[in-house]
């Protein structure tokens, strides 16, 4: 391979020639995610048309203009399609811009891709790491300069991330591109990235910055208003880091966070903020919609429909942001609204309204059709009277007369929608069946963290794309899409229905907004109520925190254990009232213990506390009656308690808890301390070792602490003598 030969010659002059290295880039032509299913089952994401131009062209065109001289396109899913496309495109014939492809079939993540690239030994200097679905027009000069200078000073500055200002919606907590909100902490002066949190856990109301961060940096800025452009300038070390840490899969979640947490190697990541230029990655359907609109509104200039930048046919820009390619057949009664792109050779019938939409090449649109905010790719046939709002319609789809697509619908390649059929909102329709659950076990796991494999889709495609079989199987399901319809409606299970509206191309409906606002407010109120119901501990912390919603986890472990005790008590009381079997109670307490991360001595303490409390709360007339009740409770539940007393330590904990209780909440029971202690001993719940250790520990304590020792003195004495006799 040419690249390798070149690499071999370069290694020798490596050090001093670093500055003269041609700028290289790694373009990942695979997003390793499943967000664009079902379309990506048939065509790789980078080849999907974005305003009638395959996405990868935007990325390549930008790389070329930014001064990159050599691009390695990493292909994984549908690699043949990508390679074929590139071979037939003009990218291979550009002067000063080398495009090479690297193919791999077993990579399931960006991490794997970078490991493959490392093995090929083709990267020799700083390189730009970008995904093939990124649109940008920024200038790299400054960011590169900064990166190089930092690198000169500090060899550990391995990466510069490009960020851009974009405030997420306070209600949905997602950016306008439909990605999750992002929290970053950046050093004010050096721009070093110190903290990174995407996929924010909404149940957590706070961000926790490690104390060492502020010790090392006097001033840092926490950002919630920045967007990650997924354009990184990396030093070659990044590749070897991926190889060293073979478990790094995701660029952000594993690599960036891994470096930030790792303080041994001291690698540093910096940020570069762009202000006026554009950069965005298409991560989901919503960003597809938003980026398309940005392109039409010329934020991405020069990558706009009327400028020829990579084999696209230039459309003519008319007023109100209307782009029309030549050779359009348009009925004079049709209305084409603002911000619309219409591809070459498309026919539009009479009284048809199109607004805010992109229509591809060679489409046939009948009359009385209404298209709004939709993306219609090439060779689509839309018969009379159809209605499309905020949908994506792939190549070769046929909509029979009167079909209605509700917002958020995605129709994959060659689907046919029957006459008058109404496709429900957010449904995804494909000729291919949805991969069944057992088929995609492993994949679903990845889908959750969105670094999924496309291996399955690859297999599915090759297996099933032999037309006949597909149409056969789909015809049996014809009723699913109305008469004459072909295709399957995918059931929404991945990510759940909850997520659909977040990432769909349809705008978020107003009632959804109201709903979220309502729920968050309810949450606040609920939490506040819970908070005020808590006993006022008098401490500032619990007091003020409980008033503020979402702050529960801020309470330190002390409050945690208080909650734990309460839960155990509630469990225990329920067990008493409902006669739950001891085994079940043990199971429940065990699960509580795991969820609160408590030790078994905590459990023992809490259970004993609940038992005594139960005894105290049962009405009694005299101390002897109380003793009787306590005896009953203890003998009924001794098995429960015993199961948490494997060692002496736990037993001591019980005694201490008992002591504490006698001093604080249950003064009434304090005269019975010695008697109950003896009872516990008789029942074999507490061994003599524990009691003696406790007594010895208390030897040196204050007089006030010794009240109970004194009370139990006789008993302890007896125990001591007994053990001596044994000896």
């Amino acid at each position: 391979m040419g690249a390798q030969k070149k690499g071999a010659t370069r290694v020798s002059e490596d050090v001093d020639a670093l500055a003269r290295q041609p700028l290289q880039a790694v373009l990942l032509a695979d997003s390793f995610a499943t967000k664009f299913r079902p379309i990506t089952l048939e065509r790789p994401k980078v080849l999907l048309p974005l305003v009638n131009v395959p996405m990868i062209n935007y990325t390549l065109a930008w790389l070329e203009s930014a001064g990159v001289e050599e691009v390695f396109v990493f292909c994984c899913a549908h690699s043949r399609q990508v390679i074929d496309y590139l071979e037939n495109s003009e990218w291979y014939s550009q002067p000063n811009f080398l495009v090479r492809t690297i193919q791999s079939h077993d990579s399931i993540s960006a991490g794997d891709a970078l490991r493959v690239i490392y093995e090929r030994n083709v990267i020799h200097g700083d390189f730009v790491l970008i995904s093939g679905d990124t649109v940008s027009n920024m200038s790299l000069t400054q960011a590169l300069q900064e990166h190089k200078e930092r690198k000169k000073k500090d060899n550990n500055a391995v990466m510069t991330m490009i960020i851009k200002r974009s405030k997420p919606s306070p209600i949905t907590h997602q950016s306008r591109l439909g990605t999750d909100e992002l929290f970053m902490a950046i050093d004010t002066s050096t721009k070093q990235l110190l903290y990174f949190e995407d996929k924010a856990d909404h149940s957590k109301g706070t961000i926790s910055l490690d104390k060492t961060l502020l010790a090392d940096n006097s001033s840092i800025v926490l950002h919630n208003d920045k967007q990650d452009c997924y354009i990184d300038i990396c030093s070659p070390e990044v590749l070897s880091l991926f190889t060293d840490n073979f478990d790094y899969q995701h660029l952000r979640r594993h690599f960036v966070k891994g470096l930030l947490l790792d303080d041994i190697m001291g690698y540093k990541i910096y940020t570069h903020e762009i202000h006026s230029s554009y950069a965005a990655r298409i991560d989901n359907y919503r960003s597809y919609d938003i980026v398309s609109k940005d392109i039409i509104q010329r934020w991405t200039y020069p990558y706009v429909p009327d400028v020829k930048f990579c084999g696209n046919r230039a459309a003519k820009l008319e007023r109100q942001g209307m782009y029309r390619a030549p050779e359009i057949v348009q009925s004079c009664s049709s209305q084409i609204g603002p911000f619309t792109v219409i591809g070459c050779g498309t026919k539009i019938g009479s009284d048809t309204k199109v607004s805010n939409s992109v229509i591809g090449e060679g489409c046939t649109i009948g009359s009385n059709v209404s298209i709004e905010g939709s993306y219609i790719w090439d060779s689509v046939t839309i018969e009379d009277g159809c209605e499309l709002r905020h949908v994506i319609v792939c190549d070769g789809v046929i909509l029979k007369a009167g079909a209605v697509l509700k917002p958020g619908v995605v129709l994959s390649f060659k689907v046919v929608i029957g006459q008058g059929f109404v496709v429900p909102a957010y449904s995804k329709v494909s000729l291919l069946q949805q991969p069944t659950v057992e088929d995609s076990d492993e994949e679903l796991e990845y889908a959750d963290n969105s670094s999924g494999t496309v291996e399955i889709s690859f297999r599915v495609t090759t297996d099933k794309l032999n037309g006949e079989m597909t149409s056969e199987s789909s015809e049996t399901h014809e009723s699913e899409l109305g008469s004459g319809g072909v295709g399957y409606i995918w059931s929404i299970c991945e990510g759940g229905h909850e997520e659909e509206w977040r990432h769909s191309i349809a705008p978020i409906p107003a009632d959804k907004f109201a709903e979220i606002t309502q729920t968050t407010d309810d949450d606040h109120e609920l939490l506040t109520q819970d908070g005020t119901a808590l006993p006022p501990s008098g401490e500032l912390k619990s007091d003020s925190f409980s008033n503020i919603s979402e702050d529960d986890e801020m309470e330190d472990s002390k409050d945690d254990s208080a909650y734990f005790e309460k839960e155990v008590e509630a469990t225990f009381l329920r067990a008493v009232h409902e006669n739950v079997k001891v085994e079940h109670v043990i199971l429940e307490v065990n699960s509580l213990r795991l969820s609160y991360n408590m030790t078994s001595s905590d459990c023992a303490g809490a259970i004993f506390y609940s038992m005594m409390k139960l005894a105290l709360e049962t009405p009694h007339a005299s101390a002897s009656e109380l003793l009787q009740i306590a005896t009953n409770v203890i003998s009924t539940w001794q098995r429960l308690l015993k199961s948490y007393l494997p060692e002496t330590d736990e037993e001591i904990e019980v005694i201490l808890k008992f002591e504490e209780m006698c001093l604080e909440s249950g003064k009434e029971i304090s005269p019975l301390f010695a008697l109950i202690l003896q009872l516990l001993y008789d029942k074999d719940l507490i061994e003599e070792d524990a009691i003696l250790t406790w007594a010895n520990e208390k030897e040196g304590a204050d007089e006030s602490d010794k009240v109970f020792i004194k009370q139990a003195e006789k008993f302890i004495q007896w125990l001591r003598e007994a053990s001596e006799e044994e000896d």
């Binding site: 926790s208 502020l214 940096n217 001033s219 800025v221 401490e539 500032l540 007091d543 503020i548």
Partner: protein, 464 residues
């Protein structure tokens, strides 16, 4: 200005024992031969804030302070001196004088603050934003509290001291987060909803809460009433208000008692007017994030209650230190006659020092720059004084060296003594050839002879 000032003058702080005593409460400790409290009072007077309540812990101390104030400021300031029990905390002190508070806004200043930041600027910032609380922040001393010229750089490895962790909005006007005390050493936890509202927050560890706050009175009193466990303004009240600024409770619960302009149940129009007014006052074309957060998307009636917590950041050139430790006492004394000498209010001689005309100097005695010699003090021959403050009516023998030290009033020092980095309290007598080095405090000492010198070197504090 409808501002009432509360000066928290403290009592006999334990940290400052043995400098303070029943006769000399903290507020009256001499800084450049003036009580430290006078620095605050002068600044207030300069800002035309003349309605003051000086709160002193303990009856005896209150009498001392009251006596001094009535003598010194009788015709210049309207001062009430209130005594509160000891150990009630700053919040407790305000609680006990609550009935005296009548103005719309209250400025609370710590009496041990030596600063040239105009209190009026803090008050103005408070008014401008219609804030519930405004806190003055100053740059934390770069060297740790104990690392200064006096202790001879023992702690050079120490990092800049961190007293607070403070979060602010990008315009540095609003206080979004504050951690004090032990929280500073823990991981910083920042509420996401504040971040959502404001977008970006600058978190800094190099600022310090300077103990000058402006409060809206109604809110302050409400918080003090409701949260009866709050002890300290710095550790309880301020963090509470900052934390709850987007989930304000103070105005909700106080709706019945609060003055009408704070009552949230008013008509929209007047609320909008109110918002507009505060925006005009704040000289901002955009509504602040508080208002945006409160009004939600619809932009009409506020659905959430918020209040504003502001910060006033003293510029780096300002001097701002609190006299809250013995080390600080020495540092401030040195600075006030040294780098920050504009604070002292004295006019310096050509040699950059102040020698009272009534002081007598022997032959070949030199008093270096940044020194002060009080009235009626006498010095013998061949003495040398560097960077030190010497009080009134001291008698100092010959061949005495005084470097980096504070000598209070009526001190007698024998011939040949050498004093470095020490504080010598009033009425101490030193016999001949006593050597004191980094011996921080000497008090009630009747007589020290040469035999005790070495021993003194080892002990930091000595009482005869």
């Amino acid at each position: 200005m409808d501002f009432q000032v509360v000066v928290l003058a403290g009592g006999t702080s334990k940290k400052l024992v043995p400098l303070v005593s029943k006769e000399v409460p903290k507020a009256l400790l001499p800084v450049a031969n003036r009580p430290v409290l006078s620095f605050v009072l002068e600044q207030l007077e300069l800002s035309n804030l003349k309605d003051l309540i000086v709160v002193v812990e303990g009856q005896d101390a209150a009498l001392c302070v009251g006596g001094w104030i009535s003598a010194a400021y009788a015709d210049r300031l309207h001062v009430e001196v209130a005594a509160v029990p000891e150990d009630v905390g700053t919040a407790g002190a305000l609680r006990s004088i609550a009935r005296h508070l009548t103005a719309k806004d209250i400025l609370v200043v710590s009496g041990d603050l030596v600063s040239d930041v105009p209190p009026g600027a803090v008050a103005a910032a408070h008014r401008r934003h219609d804030a519930v609380v405004t806190a003055m922040l100053c740059t934390a001393p770069v060297s740790g509290p104990s690392d200064s010229g006096f202790s001879g750089g023992k702690d050079k490895t120490k990092k800049p001291g961190r007293y607070n962790i403070i979060g602010m909005d990008p315009t540095k006007q609003f206080l979004l987060y504050i951690a004090t005390g032990a929280e500073v050493e823990k991981d910083t936890r920042i509420q996401k909803n504040i971040l959502h509202a404001v977008g970006q927050m600058e978190v800094r560890g190099d600022l310090m809460d300077a103990h000058m706050y402006a409060f809206k009175r109604s809110v302050l009193q409400e918080v003090l009433d409701q949260k009866d466990t709050f002890q300290s303004l710095r550790q309880d009240v301020l963090p509470y208000l900052v934390r709850s600024q987007l989930k304000s409770e103070v105005l909700v619960n106080g709706a019945s008692q609060a003055p009408p302009e704070e009552n949230g149940n008013e008509k929209n129009s007047s609320l909008n007017n109110h918002m507009m007014l505060s925006r005009i006052l704040a000289n901002a074309s955009m509504p602040s994030f508080h208002e945006l957060y409160a009004s939600d998307r619809s932009g009409s009636a506020p659905v959430r209650r918020t209040h504003k917590c502001c910060a006033y950041i003293a510029s780096n050139s300002n001097y701002c230190t609190r006299l809250n430790s013995i080390q600080a006492f020495m540092d401030i004394n040195r600075d006030v006659i040294g780098e920050a000498n504009h604070l002292s209010g004295y006019s310096f001689s050509a040699h950059n020092n102040i020698i009272d005309p009534s002081a007598e100097l022997g032959s070949k005695t030199t008093v270096g720059p940044y020194c002060m010699l009080g009235e009626g003090s006498q010095m013998g021959d061949k003495c040398s004084v560097k960077r030190s403050v010497i009080g009134r009516h001291c008698r100092i023998g010959s061949n005495v060296k005084i470097v980096n030290s504070v000598v209070m009033n009526h001190v007698t020092i024998g011939d040949g003594c050498s004093i470095q980095g020490s504080v010598i309290c009033s009425n101490v007598q030193l016999q001949e050839r006593v050597i004191l080095k980094d011996c921080q405090v000497l008090w009630f000492l009747q007589a020290v002879s040469i035999r005790q010198s070495l021993w003194l070197e080892k002990r930091n504090k000595y009482k005869g």
